[in-house]
Amino acid sequence: MRINLTNKYIIPIIFLLLTGCADKHFITVKKTISQDIKFNSVKVVIIDVDLDDTPFTERVVSINDSRVLKIGTLEVNKKIVLNALTEALSFSGKSVFTIDEYNKIKKDLTAIRPASGYKHSKIHALIKLKISYGIQSGSFESEKVFKFYRRSRTCQYIKNPPKDYEPCHSNINTSRQQIMLDKNAASLIDLWYSGEIYLNDGNDNYYHHKSLEGSELITAPYQDENAMNQNIAAGIGKLISSNVGLLDLSINLQIEDANHSDAIALLKQGKVEDARKILEEDTDSPLFNSATDFYNLGLIYHTYGDTKIASDYYSKAIQIGGYKRIYIDALKNIRVLNEDSTVD
């Protein structure tokens, strides 16, 4: 059987947890899965954003009155939004630039380099986003029902108490509901974003790869406009990268004790490859008929990221040993970690 230790898109990191709960031992598989395999492979990305005018209202809301303190159009700092986006998209070794940054680099390089013999760096992806949002902020109050509790106990301890003597008694044990003012302050940002990603086909021709569209209500503390812009920018960065970025997964797989104690001991020590050799040496033997051995072999291939072989071994374990919870869970986890689960 072939061990596939490398995977272009999914990078497994294997940790062995030896602590265990009582005598349970686990292997933890950590994987990073790409939400967009094609975009993940690009290195130089240029991003541009079209920001709509941002309506802004600051108000004070009391029980009987809603008063607007300030209303108008907020000046959005495009640079902050772009910085957050470039940061959020700079994963997997990407260099993300804004149009201005890219043009400045290009101009500076042209100035210092000889007139010919140099090529500008290749751009692999272009992202154009349109972002619209409005900000509502202020302090507000409303009436709410609050519940209060009051409890007190008195205890008297005596020498040689009679049978059934209870030293402690509850004096007060009440609850009371009361209408009170609930005062709060917040900012609400209703974000609507959409955009397109173009990828370079290798010959400097760009083709439409993906359209993005979504919306989200972001809650931020009631604060000044610049601080709010930071919050908005951070929120946008996370949202966009959730469409095309990386997803970290971590799964604990339980090692099952079996008759191959030598292999199990190695597995518990993290010597996964040594354990595999011992277990696989015996697979052709008529004595190798243990569901546990098949399960542990599945687990080894699971950690290697070779999910097809792992799935076959888990299925054999189920076939021989029945529908044990850990076998089923392991098989379910294969589906989660499988390459097919990446969203393209």
Partner: protein
């Protein structure tokens, strides 16, 4: 010996012991009522506000099996800066031009009050622990409303353009209300799905009258098809054997294998109602969306 015995017990318990059954809903997609076009589609926005609508429509078209190409005119702005070329469509295409006019945000406020019962409870009492009084809680609610007009024009060479116009109204309200972007995005998506429904795949859900083995059903729902197959191999015979294996294959979109099991099942049963189940399943496979 001990191991062999425990393995045997497990097989008995898990493979033969549990015989609960469960309803199993079959979900599949059917071809649209009308095919919008078999050509690649280019979606353009004729104004800035239409960009969100454009991207929303592109996503909807793609998820319904249409081929979408990039537009060229408005993306020139982005690409020209880099002296970059675009992949220019050489074949015939269908063009969808969208635009969106958005109105201003209008807001209204109103007083809201709600009657409540207030309890006072003394837990040291033996009876009548709680007494109640009436109260009213009040707060101010502000609603923000924004209206919009959307236009979608589908241009197919040699055919009359199809014009789809609709109005959309989005609301947001609260003690501290938000603006209406989130509501507007959701409302437009609903409208687009409604207006272009006849061009989109039909999602069908069928709940057959009879049930299949509960564990096999759970495995199929969890996409643990190998485990489901093993379960069926051990557990089922006759009608349910062929039918459940057909379902497992159908759930994995292995339509030819599914059809094979349903056909074998149809041949291997004499009962009319069971034959009907298999023929319905084969018809479903044949009517499914090919895209």
């Amino acid at each position: 010996m001990k191991t062999v015995l425990s393995i045997s017990i497990l097989i008995i318990i898990f493979s033969f012991g549990c015989s609960n059954t469960k309803e199993f809903t079959i979900s599949y997609t059917k071809k649209p009522e009308f095919i919008l076009t078999s050509k690649p589609i280019i979606v353009r926005s004729s104004n800035t506000n239409g960009n969100h609508l454009k991207n929303l429509i592109i996503n909807e078209l793609k998820s319904n099996g249409y081929r979408v190409m990039q537009e060229i005119e408005t993306t020139n702005y982005l690409l020209d800066l880099f002296g970059a070329n675009q992949v220019i469509p050489l074949d015939d295409f269908t063009e969808i031009v969208v635009s969106m006019e958005l109105g201003s945000n209008d807001e209204t406020s109103k007083d809201v009050s709600k009657n409540v019962k207030l309890a006072y409870c003394d837990y040291n009492r033996q009876k009548d622990i709680c007494t109640y009084s009436d109260g009213t809680v009040k707060h101010k609610v502000t609603s923000i409303k924004r209206t919009g007009k959307a236009s979608i024009i589908i241009n197919n060479a040699g055919k009359e353009p199809v014009k789809i116009l609709f109005n959309v109204t989005a609301f947001a309200s609260g003690i501290l209300p938000s603006y209406t972007n989130v509501a507007m995005s959701n409302r437009i998506q609903e409208k687009v799905r409604g207006k272009l429904k006849k061009y989109f795949l039909k999602n069908i859900r069928v709940l057959p009258e009879f049930e299949i083995d509960e564990m096999a059903a759970d495995f199929i729902n969890d996409k643990l098809y190998e485990a489901a197959k093993i379960r069926v191999m051990y557990k089922e015979t006759g009608f349910k054997y062929y039918y459940t294996l057909g379902l497992i294959e159908e759930s994995q979109k292995n339509y030819s294998a599914a059809k094979m099991y349903y056909s074998e099942g149809e041949l291997n049963t004499d009962q009319f109602d069971q034959k009907e189940v298999f023929s319905d399943s084969i018809a479903r496979i044949e009517s499914r969306n090919i895209n």
